[in-house]
């Protein structure tokens, strides 16, 4: 298992390198640079502008600039936000936990919905329950998150007035009150994202269980007298989870799309909404850093998926 882990880690490194190269290439190909204003500003003498450019190495060849950027990212020096006048890493660290909380809970909610519903659907395919579940799943992943978010606000905040539609990180209350306020404001963003995830996961689970349930070993389990519950939970679902885990990992980039959108709708102070505000404010260092953080998270979650994979199917880690 540990050798498998090391091998997976070694694969993650080139992936991160590749992603950083792609990001930097995009930036290098883009026209304009942070000192463009200096060049056109008549109050700044030409020589000063030139010196500044030379000082920050803006005229160096691209590979050199890439190497400098990447090593300083590794050292933890992520630059300085043009707008907030704060170091980028502090800015991101302040908000990362909120994003991870919303993402994690949403993913959990999605799995909690998808695994039982998908399994039950597959146990009785084409039954009434299955047809309702598959139809709802289809509707669920055809509803884009930004529209579900607006519908939720319209229903729960405006018509029913049950839930707040602005997420606040600085709730003044303490104790149970604090917890309750947090819970109430987190319901909508998490369920918008979680139900969207859950919809596609339900379909995956259903087809994965359907693939497994007709295999001979399941009949064997039943024939030797195991209860239906044990057969399904221990024998069927465990094996059916293997392709589901792969798909969860493959979907991680998509979850981030949903996260950016929900954070923007509900004004959740996470890195997704920070990304949007930075783009509107032309804050390039923050934009680059957030995109890179998202990429790192993708690689990280792929790694986690690999580990779960190895646990579900021990053969994989011995290969």
């Amino acid at each position: 298992m540990s050798r498998y882990l090391v091998r997976r880690l070694l694969i993650a490194v080139p992936a991160l390198l590749g992603i950083s190269v792609v990001l930097f290439t995009v930036l290098a190909l883009a026209p304009g640079d942070p000192f463009e204003e200096l060049a056109t500003n008549p109050n700044v003498p030409r020589e000063v502008a030139q010196q500044l450019r030379a000082k920050f190495g803006l005229d160096d060849p691209v590979p050199l600039r890439y190497a400098r950027w990447f090593t300083s990212m590794l050292r933890g020096d992520w630059g300085f936000s043009f707008v907030s006048r704060v170091n980028v890493d502090t800015l991101i660290l302040q908000r990362l936990s909120t994003t991870l909380f919303v993402l994690g809970s949403a993913q959990l909610l999605g799995l909690l919905v998808a695994l039982p519903v998908g399994t039950l659907s597959a146990l009785r395919p084409y039954s009434f329950f299955d047809q309702v579940a598959t139809t709802l799943a289809f509707i669920g992943f055809s509803l884009p998150t930004f529209f579900t978010g607006l519908l939720f606000i319209l229903l729960f905040s405006i018509y029913l007035d049950w839930l707040p539609f602005i997420y606040r990180a600085d709730i003044a209350a303490t104790g149970w009150q604090w917890f309750w306020e947090h819970f109430k404001q987190a319901i909508m963003p998490i369920s918008v994202l979680g139900l969207f995830q859950g919809a596609s996961l339900t379909r995956f689970t259903r087809s994965a269980v359907l693939d497994v349930i007709r295999l001979d070993y399941v009949n064997t389990a039943r024939a030797k007298g195991l209860s239906e519950r044990v057969t399904v939970v221990k024998h069927v679902v465990r094996n059916a989870l293997i392709p589901v885990v792969t798909l969860v990992a493959l979907q991680v980039p998509q979850i981030f799309t949903g996260a950016v959108v929900t954070e923007q709708i509900f004004r959740v102070p996470g890195i997704g909404s920070l990304l949007i505000t930075s783009i509107l404010a032309n804050d390039t260092p923050v934009i680059m850093a957030i995109t890179f953080v998202f990429s790192c998270l993708v690689v990280l979650f792929n790694l986690v998926a690999d580990l779960v994979y190895g646990w579900l199917d021990p053969r994989i880690s011995y290969r």
């Binding site: 992936a15 883009a30 289809f138 319209l154 980039p253 959108v261 923007q264 934009i287 993708v298 792929n302």
Partner: protein
């Protein structure tokens, strides 16, 4: 010898009833597709929307930017069937116009994704060896990229240049289509590669090779047509995904400029007025939802219709 005498009539008896059913592959597929009720419903809805969007502006001749403050934020009425926005502009006219752009983006981005994916998958699967390895690593790398953040980054960095060279509408359209398509080719490439790996060893390709067909002819005439089934399904789903991607960009205020009312853009403008003008958000949102749902059902129907395992069953 006795065996021949027995097996010949049996053989004929087996093939004869099958004769009338010897449709072409596509007629077969169409027949199975028509049996999928929800896919047919999706086709009807989508066709209706496409016709409305294409022919609508010719029939419904209300201008999309006719400002009328007396009629602002009004709900549906006879004068404005879908109501008006905060400038009193007619929503039906704007949605019909915006729908053209949303659908055009979806189809164009799908074509880019499919062409790039097919090309890369075909080269990878047919040539094999080190180039296959390199291409598949690149595919894996692209699969790791977080799409929306990268999409936002690229649109942010390149928007102004393209706007100034190609004009606001064409520039943003090209950029969005290219980036969405450029970030969605990977699943197609994997599918095509897998198909090529198995098809290039099949007897009929070997026969073509034996008859002296050059590689390009083998690929274009023999392998590719047989590999298109899953690609068509993936392409259908890609149209829906691209429409959602464009709407998301516009919804975040980073897609098309405000004077081009794509459905996502209308939602972006409407989202701060939800409490007193919900119709403004509900109509474009429903438009996106219905389009995407229909396309997804059509994709589902096509998947069932093109699935070779089902061919044996029916």
């Amino acid at each position: 010898m006795a065996n021949d005498a027995v097996s010949a009539p049996v053989h004929r008896a087996l093939t004869l009833p099958a004769r009338p059913a010897r449709d072409s592959l596509w007629a077969d597929t169409a027949r199975r597709f028509r049996r999928h009720r929800l896919a047919m419903a999706g086709t009807v809805v989508l066709t209706a929307m496409v016709v409305a969007v294409l022919a609508g502006p010719l029939v419904y001749r209300v201008p999309i930017n006719d400002i009328d403050f007396r009629a602002k934020l009004k709900g549906p009425s006879w004068a404005h069937p879908l109501g008006t926005d905060d400038l009193g502009q007619d929503l039906l006219a704007r949605m019909l116009y915006g729908g053209r752009i949303s659908m055009a983006v979806g189809i164009a981005a799908m074509l880019i994704a499919i062409s790039a994916g097919t090309l890369i998958g075909a080269v990878s699967g047919y040539v094999g060896g080190p180039s296959d390895h390199v291409l598949m690593r690149i595919t894996d790398l692209f699969l790791c990229l977080p799409q929306l953040p990268l999409l936002l980054l690229i649109v942010y960095l390149f928007r102004d240049v393209l706007k100034s060279t190609l004009g606001p509408e064409a520039g943003v359209f090209m950029l969005i289509v290219a980036v969405i398509g450029g970030l969605r080719w990977m699943p197609v490439a994997r599918l095509v590669r897998a198909q090529f790996l198995s098809l290039r060893e099949k007897e009929f390709v070997e026969a073509a090779r034996g008859l002296g067909a050059p590689p390009l002819r083998q690929v274009v005439r023999h392998i590719l047509p047989n590999a298109m089934g899953p690609v068509i399904v993936a392409g259908t789903i890609d149209v829906a995904a691209a429409i959602i991607a464009e709407s998301t960009l516009s919804f975040l205020g980073l897609g098309f400029p405000p004077d081009i009312p794509t459905w996502g853009r209308i939602l972006f403008d409407a989202k701060d007025n939800l409490d007193f003008a919900p119709h403004w958000a509900l109509f474009p949102g429903t438009g996106i939802f219905l389009t995407v749902l229909s396309i997804n059902y059509i994709g589902d129907g096509l998947r069932d219709a093109l699935d070779p395992r089902k061919v044996l069953a029916h």
